[in-house]
């Protein structure tokens, strides 16, 4: 109860502050939108040897972009946390009796709401580009988006609290992210990949998230990838949350 109350207090406060600056939402959207506008059209003319067809190309591409939002948004959150650490903002929160978990969860909550808004805008754009809508699928996909968002934000917070340096957080995120994203089949499905890449991708948690997201977007609700994606993403999100909270408790000792 106490944790819930404090999470709400911190979350609502942070959200109000974040939404005051519309850039918060727009900046993270720029990259996925650019991909949507300048890359997705190429997919229409792809040879039919793959699962792409003119009608479903955008349905296959959009879920990947949705997943891509999560690391981009969380990168900014991690950097923001370092700034707060430096400015004494975290100390000032830590000196209250508020639960440490609530402080992390509240801040993550703000990022998740931002992510949700970004996701809605992205889907709206995709819809205008011809996305075929499966309402149930999209609803569940957004739940998955929040879970992968929690995973990414928690990791980013843990990095921030451990490294305590904006540049270091940005560098490590970039170094880790590109392979993680490319090996997730986020831009093109992994069925195009050679064998060794598929093996590597099987070790990449984000690949499961993307696969599940994609199944949801093309309306294949019986696909086992959905369950797998949820299980892997949610399991890791919990671990990451634990890691972030622990770093928060320890990083000051």
């Amino acid at each position: 109860m106490k944790v819930l109350r404090e999470t709400m207090i911190i979350g609502l406060h942070s959200l109000r502050v974040a939404l005051r600056n519309p850039l918060t939402i727009i900046v993270g959207l720029l990259q996925p939108i650019t991909w949507m506008l300048l890359f997705a059209p190429l997919l229409k003319n792809l040879p039919t040897t793959t699962s792409f067809s003119a009608t479903t190309a955008i349905n296959i591409f959009t879920p990947g972009m949705l997943v891509m939002l999560a690391p981009i948004t969380s990168l900014f959150s991690g950097i923001g946390l370092v700034t707060e650490l430096r400015g004494g903002v975290l100390d000032r929160l830590r000196v209250t009796p508020a639960s440490r978990l609530a402080i992390i969860l509240g801040k993550a909550g703000r990022d998740l709401v931002v992510l949700l808004l970004q996701g809605l805008i992205l889907v709206l754009i995709a819809w205008m580009m011809g996305l075929q809508i499966y309402p149930l699928g999209i609803l569940v996909a957004f739940v998955l988006l929040l879970i992968v968002g929690l995973l990414m934000v928690s990791c980013s917070y843990a990095f921030a609290l451990t490294l305590r340096d904006e540049n270091a957080v940005a560098s490590i995120s970039n170094v880790l992210l590109l392979p993680l994203l490319l090996l997730s089949g986020l831009i093109l499905p992994l069925e195009l990949a050679p064998g060794w890449m598929k093996t590597l991708a099987a070790l990449n948690p984000l690949a499961y998230t993307v696969a599940a997201m994609r199944a949801l977007f093309v309306g294949e609700f019986n696909d086992v990838a959905i369950i797998q994606g949820f299980a892997v993403t949610a399991g890791l999100a919990l671990l990451a949350l634990f890691w972030a909270t622990r770093s928060f408790r320890r990083s000051f000792a």
Binding site: R20, G87, R92, A98, F252, A253
Partner: protein, 316 residues
Amino acid sequence: MAIIEAHGLKKQFKSGKTVVDALCGINLSVAEGGIIGLLGPNGAGKTTLLRILTTLLQPDAGTAQIVGQPIDTGSAAIRRRIGYVSQQGGAEAAATGRENVLLQARLHGLSAAEAKQRVSELLVGFELESIADRVVQTYSGGQRRRLDLAMGMVHRPVLLFLDEPAVGLDPQSRARLWDEVRSLHRGGTSVVITTHYLDEADALCDRVAIIDHGQIIVEDSPAGLKRTLAGDVVRLGIRVDELEQARTLFTNQAFVRDISCEDEHLRLVVEQGETALPQILQLVNDHGLSLQTITLDRPSLDDVFLHYTGRSLRDA
């Protein structure tokens, strides 16, 4: 009962290969309802000590009890009852002043209505009302500092830690800060304040601890500190031809610790200036000496500081 009781607190920082001994065995006892000033040069360990006492930092060794509870970085029981205004502040730059203080109030458990009421009260008290709904980014240094203070006091703590609260405040705001601290004190709050301003320690604190190189060198009341140092200095302006006679006379008095001649003055070091003066006047009268001037100088805290640390705070 002591509200702070610390024994042998030690803290070492390692950054790369260098090791800094920030605290080397701090013992400190603060009585409930007291105001103690921690006086020390840059890097003495003041902030480190405060961070340990406010449960933000784990000491390497030593124990401490705050408001009757053993310190522990997980102790919500302590956090509920203490307030901390850190050296760097801690206001969120992108939020408004009001939002910052409100958040602090709510996290300390005030209900929405209580918080709202208390926050406007404080904003008025620190003369922040007119800028309360502007984002903190746009505040001047002193306005920001006042906001930090409001945040630290919002839950009416039993024990308040202020780390250099007056830095960046104009004289008027400083006076208001002192008033605020005194009124909290009257209400029963104990205060720990670190400062570089000697007049602040002198005006506000009933105890002063001088801390240097991670150790408390001396702790006493401001007056006591000054007394143990050298006593007060009384200078008597006396006609040159009577100087020797006067000198013999005062050398034999019990209340005079030291005596010397400076030009046409007799310089007496006495235990306590205010009791010595009438005695001196009486003696001058009884022996028919012609006294032209008399001055009383008391050592300042700066002299005390210089004496104990070999440095002057004014240069620090």
